[in-house]
């Protein structure tokens, strides 16, 4: 273990640590631990570190470089000895003084680490996708329900106003009877090759076995770890990359259509597009192209960038439609729908901040927007679509049993054995 001593330190404890200067007294702060805080985790964690009622007390990574980096960052904020580093997250979870964890490892670890955290009594903010198979998403959801811990999936667009507005239009009937929901996705891809074997590094520097964790063994290559070139691999990524954006956009479609407790029942791939349908006939179209303002020859062929930016969604009803994306702009019809802009409050907690909502729920024991139930159905819908695409044919799915109907091959793809000794 790296015990977090290699940092430069301020000699004076900042006043805010003591609860002065408008700060929050240590006893009222949420003690947070971070697991696998790379570039994406950094974006999330920094929003949490900006909150006065949070103390980042422990960090865990299989890479020594990141352990040192986050101990230093915490010591900049709170003073020497404020944060301890771990290589094995189970040691971090064993600390009784931690309230919650942020899990931002690669996809392969999300579900298993989250379940271990919940069983250790921690609330969990877990980056999406929260599980790389249907089975893992079910187990994670069950574990969160049984333990009563808070789970916020990292599908932060549930707490972004333009997306909330579009969902409001759909859910409030302003678009009329909904008939089609559109979710942007990456161009789908599954990789199976192994990069050339390289000598395994000292586990104190990079712990390859722990990096693999519940994923199948393969020989070490630093590109997986250092360059984060694990995306798209069947063993490490979720659902043929469909979750990369689908976890957000399918989630928004599920929300818009009031489908948080169910999934589509039919999925049919056609090239890079997957057409799905809910039991009530509403269609869900997952597609990488064809968005308003998206050039026919995009600079980036992997995902959509249209007039509303990246990650667009579109909801269509018989009285109107709305399309929005990451740049916050909203395209809609009829124009009168724009007058609805301020007339909505989707949830009681602050809708502007996904992480803030998580921290509030850690305190209140309330239910965040991207809770385990929401995560379960959104993620399963994405997985079912990805399985249809991988099989190259139509599949039917029973949202009640969460099984494919009369389809042995598809059902076999619902789960994958977790590598020993990990238990899901």
């Amino acid at each position: 273990l790296l015990a977090g001593g290699a940092a430069t330190l301020p000699l004076i404890v900042p006043g805010r640590v003591l609860g002065r200067d408008g700060g929050v007294a240590p006893s009222n702060r949420i003690a947070l631990g971070g697991i696998g805080i790379g570039p994406r985790g950094k974006m999330v964690l920094e929003t949490m570190l900006a909150e006065k009622d949070l103390h980042y007390r422990a960090t865990c990574d299989v890479q020594a470089r990141l352990r040192i980096e986050w101990v230093q960052r915490a010591e900049e904020l709170y003073g020497k000895g404020a944060c301890t580093a771990y290589r094995d997250f189970r040691e971090l979870l064993a600390r009784p003084d931690l309230d919650a964890v942020l899990i931002a490892t690669g996809d392969r670890w999300h579900a298993v680490a989250s379940m271990y955290a919940a069983r250790a009594g921690k609330d969990v903010y877990c980056e999406k996708p929260c599980g790389i198979t249907i089975g893992l998403c079910q187990s994670l959801s069950d574990t969160m329900r049984a333990t009563g811990r808070v789970l916020q999936a990292g599908t932060q667009r549930r707490n972004v106003p333009n997306f909330q507005f579009a969902v409001h239009l759909a859910r409030s009937g302003k678009l009329g009877r909904l008939h089609t929901l559109h979710a942007s996705i990456y161009k789908l891809q599954v990789l199976h090759d192994w990069l050339p074997a390289e000598p395994e590094p000292d586990p104190e520097v990079i712990d390859w076995n722990m990096w693999l964790g519940p994923a199948p063994w393969r020989p070490y290559n630093k590109a997986y770890v250092v360059d984060r070139r694990w995306r798209g691999y069947y063993d490490f990524d979720s659902g043929a990359k469909l979750h990369d954006w689908g976890a957000h956009t399918v989630d928004l479609c599920q929300w818009a259509g009031n489908f948080d407790d169910t999934t589509p029942t039919v999925y049919e791939p056609d090239g890079d597009t997957i057409y799905a349908r809910y039991a009530n006939g509403v269609k869900l179209v997952m597609r990488p192209t064809g968005w308003i303002g998206q050039p026919a020859q995009s600079n980036n062929a992997n995902f959509a960038v249209g007039a509303t930016g990246t990650c667009p969604v579109r909801f269509e009803g018989d009285a109107g439609w709305v399309e929005t994306g990451d740049n916050g702009s909203i395209e809609l019809h009829p124009a009168s729908l724009r007058q609805e802009w301020r007339a909505f409050v989707m949830r009681g907690t602050d809708p502007a901040r996904h992480t803030r909502e998580f921290l509030d729920c850690v305190k209140s024991r309330g239910t965040p927007a991207a809770n385990h139930r929401v995560m379960r159905h959104t993620h399963i819908a994405c997985h079912a679509a990805a399985i249809a695409w991988q099989l190259g044919r139509k599949v039917t799915f029973d949202p009640t049993t969460e099984m494919f109907t009369g389809d042995e091959a598809a059902n076999r793809m619902r789960t994958r054995a977790v590598r020993e000794p990990w238990i899901a």
Binding site: N411, A417, I423
Partner: protein, 653 residues
């Protein structure tokens, strides 16, 4: 191999197989031979997981003890809905050791193999701790009576904590299926076992929920506990335990819990909803407990009724946190009649409260308040005037535009004029048809009696045009103003054109560059070059010959600042002519680095063409002489064979 094996494979066997595909299984078994590369054998296992028949089971079972392939083989066996796979995993329990034994136990648990219970019971009693723990988890997952009996027995021996987790998981599944009596029995067993940590908390929660209405006393007992973990679980259970009787009991409990916990209990009641909750919340809106009052005032924004408005108004009239919370809630409140109640309150409010009420009406977008806000915007008191102008941006609609425009033209104070402009912009943007949004301002512009009025109108007009992305009708009016005999009007119009959101005025601006003097000439120059740069970069699709415009601008530059503008724009124009214009600037100290950067930006598009030699020659000069190390390095990179950087989108999460 970067293509999907699964896709290619599945497309080849499009039929739905009941228990795998025999032909493909034999092909894959051939790939499992020891002489095959490890990666190929691993992939074969993963494909057998999807299509393998019982014929594959023996070979997979043989691999279970393999250091590297054992897990792959188990991945296949765990997935196969075949009794042979269960049998193979059960048999393997006798010969596997260490983590591989744990793996096989886990797989049997995932498969719910009831026939494995006797073997797992034996393993649960074994000396090897990790296998024993895994066996308890697997038994709980299998969930037969015999399996659960064993796990319950373990609650009372040295493996209590491992067993407690397993029993909780099993009990919660029963609870989710509605088997509440059985679930309650298991949860009670964990609770009685003295289990600690999360398992104990999960068990208490489970007992409360499984008991239904009878769980209320236990919920209340934990809510009253000084132990934070216990009252936290009770707060969670408050949101989960169904029933009107439970709601009534929890509402009644509110005043009895500790003052420190009351706000959280109130929040849980609000999440829970139901009869009596609103009254309880309103009852706390005047609480002397500041945190409680804050929670109540905050909750009223979500669930408040008309009866809540006076309570919120009372808090709004105060100072400090309560007023701020009440203000937020009044903005959120959707109860009918709220706007009217706020307007009534406005007349009788103190000066300070009036300011707050005006802000609330604005943030609510209270259209019915617009006429009153217009009146207040002419009040003698500056504070209320400004508050009203701010609020009009939210409350005023298209119908108020003529009045707002008159108001703006009356303003003599810069700050208030800006506020009035913002209100005009906001109201204009509420016109449903985008092409009509400039109309009220254009009408006013035509009717304006003086150049100073027209100058005042050009500011909000420009803002609306920028929000719209352009407007032909507005462009014509502003071009006319740019020909005014009044110098201030001319300057305001050219400034408006120079900030135009598309390049449609670019040619007119260049004409003004040729025909005018400062300040009009400089404004026009900057605007025209910016527009050409946007067109060259593909950000603006307005038809414009950017090369011709920049060539002319380059000939008319009058200062280093203008040279910098032109050089920067040429960095977006991927034409060999750009290189010709940039080369002289590589020698000019004031702009040489910017020019080098521009060359580096356009070079990748030119290196593959007929002028590659000339481009390389310029890059070599930059790589050898440029002061900025980054620009120098980029030039050197481009000179490496095949090293032109690819353009890539930025990945988001």
């Amino acid at each position: 191999m970067t293509k999907s094996l699964l896709v290619g494979f599945a497309l080849g066997v499009a039929a739905v197989f009941a228990a795998g595909d025999a032909v493909k299984t034999r092909e894959l078994l051939a790939q499992l031979k020891p002489e095959a590369p490890l990666a190929e054998r691993a992939r074969a296992c993963q494909q057998l997981a999807i299509v393998g028949t019982s014929e594959a089971v023996p070979a997979l079972a043989e691999l279970l003890s393999d250091t590297h392939l054992g897990h792959y083989a188990r991945e296949a066996l765990e997935a196969m809905a075949l009794p042979e796979a269960d049998a193979a995993l059960r048999t393997a329990l006798g010969r596997l050791q260490g983590v591989q034994l744990v793996g096989a136990i886990n797989s049997l648990g995932v498969r719910g193999d009831a026939a494995a219970v006797p073997a797992l019971v034996k393993l649960a009693d074994g000396a090897e701790a990790s296998a024993a723990s895994a066996a308890l988890v697997a038994l709980a997952r299998i969930g037969t009576q015999a399996a659960l009996d064993k796990v319950q027995t373990a609650l009372s021996d040295g493996r209590r904590d491992a067993a407690a987790d397993a029993v909780v998981t099993a009990a919660d599944r029963l609870l989710a299926r509605g088997q509440t009596a059985e679930a309650a029995r298991l949860f009670e067993a964990v609770r009685a076992s003295g289990a600690t940590g999360q398992a104990r908390l999960s068990a208490i929660r489970g007992v409360i929920l499984a008991r239904g209405a009878s769980g209320v006393p236990l919920l209340l007992e934990n809510l009253r506990s000084p132990d934070a973990a216990l009252h936290d679980l009770a707060l969670r259970a408050m949101r989960e335990l169904a029933g009107a009787d439970a709601t009534a009991a929890l509402v009644a409990e509110l005043p009895r819990v500790s003052p420190a916990l009351q706000p959280q209990v109130l929040a849980a009641l609000v999440d829970r909803g139901g009869a009596g909750v609103l009254a309880a919340v309103e009852g706390q809106a005047t609480s002397s407990n500041a945190a409680m009052r804050h929670a109540a005032l905050d909750a009223l924004g979500r669930i408040g009724a008309p009866s809540s408005v006076p309570l919120l108004l009372r808090a709004l009239a105060e100072e400090g946190d309560a007023a701020a919370t009440a203000r937020r809630s009044l903005v959120q409140l959707t109860a009918p009649g709220t706007d009217a109640a706020l307007l009534r309150a406005l007349g009788a409010a103190s000066a300070d409260t009036q300011l707050k009420l005006v802000a609330v009406l604005g943030d609510r977008g209270a259209a019915t308040a617009a006429s009153e806000l217009l009146r207040l915007a002419r009040e003698p008191r500056a504070e209320i005037r400004r508050a009203a102008l701010r609020a009009l941006a939210g409350a005023a609609g298209p119908g108020e535009l003529p009045a707002l425009i008159r108001l703006a033209l009356e303003q003599r104070d810069d700050a208030e004029r800006t506020l009035a402009d913002r209100a005009i912009h906001a109201a204009a943007m509420k016109i449903l048809e985008p092409e009509r949004r400039v109309d009220p301002l254009l009408t006013a512009l035509r009717q304006a009696p003086s150049p100073s009025d027209r100058v005042a109108l050009l500011r909000p007009l420009g803002a609306v045009v920028r929000a719209l992305g352009g407007s032909a009708a507005a462009a014509a009016a502003v071009r006319a103003a740019a020909q005014s005999s009044d110098a201030t009007e001319r300057e305001a119009a050219v400034k408006c054109l120079a900030d135009w959101p598309d390049a449609s005025p670019a040619v007119d601006l260049m004409a003004l560059v040729r025909a005018s003097v400062e300040p009009v000439r400089n404004l026009a120059f900057a605007g025209a070059v910016r527009m050409a740069a946007n067109v060259a970069a593909g950000r603006d699709r307005t038809p414009l010959d950017a090369l011709a415009l920049l060539t002319e601008a380059n000939a008319l530059v009058a200062s280093d600042a203008e040279r910098m503008m032109v050089v920067s724009a040429l960095g977006s124009l991927r034409r060999i002519e750009s290189l010709g214009m940039l080369e002289p600037y590589l020698q000019l100290d004031a702009v040489k680095t910017e020019a080098a950067l521009a060359v580096v930006q356009i070079a990748p598009a030119l290196l593959g063409g007929a002028n590659a030699m000339a481009v390389r020659s310029t890059l070599e000069k930059i790589a050898a002489t440029e002061r900025d190390p980054d620009v120098r390095a980029r030039a050197a990179d481009l000179l490496r064979p095949g090293a032109a950087p690819k353009k890539a989108g930025k990945k988001k999460q």
